[in-house]
Amino acid sequence: MKKVTVVLQKSPFNTLRNSEALRMSLGLTLANNAVSVIFTSDAVYNLLPAFPENIKSPAFGRHIEMLNTLKCKLIAEKESMEERDVKDVNYNVEVKERAEVFKFIKESNTVITY
């Protein structure tokens, strides 16, 4: 099994990138890939409760929930959350310190940044 890590860095609004990256992450599970998603920098805002459909933006929450259901690892970078005062996240994510996130990325077979 190949360890594939998708790294999200952008905030959820004004872009389709996050919903596309999460859709792609789900798609990656269709082959023999152990898919993990890391939320870092402004991407930690994706983890807060949001209603993107209210501004005709694609809903991404269902992708995160499905990744959870498929037992994909979801990781949020602790420092990024603290810098942005992001608390009470809406999803079941593992919070890791930056050094641990680096180690996790380093141990991956494939890294896709988004």
């Binding site: 594939v4 990138r17 023999n32 896709i112 988004y114």
Partner: protein, 106 residues
Amino acid sequence: MHQEKKQRLGILLTTSPESENTFTVIKLAEAAISSGKDVQIFLMCDGVYNINNKDFTSLLDKGVSVTLCAHNASERSVEKREGINFGSQYDHAYIVNESDRFLSFT
């Protein structure tokens, strides 16, 4: 007779042809092909517009395999083109899984 398996390079391109990523991907793919590697490119998001770029599609004649996300192409009214596989994220999952090296240009 035993034939050695070719090394495989996978590339994800999600930006439109205006981005310098297109030039980088073309040159990388050409270099990989000339050194005897298999190259598979997957296009998604605005990357699907690259099939309208002549320099990019010239990679097909050099033996590069190009697949795109048909869902993204349909969203952008990009029409089918000979030689390009209008596939899905399923294809992407297998390209990632079967590549010896995978590079993303997003």
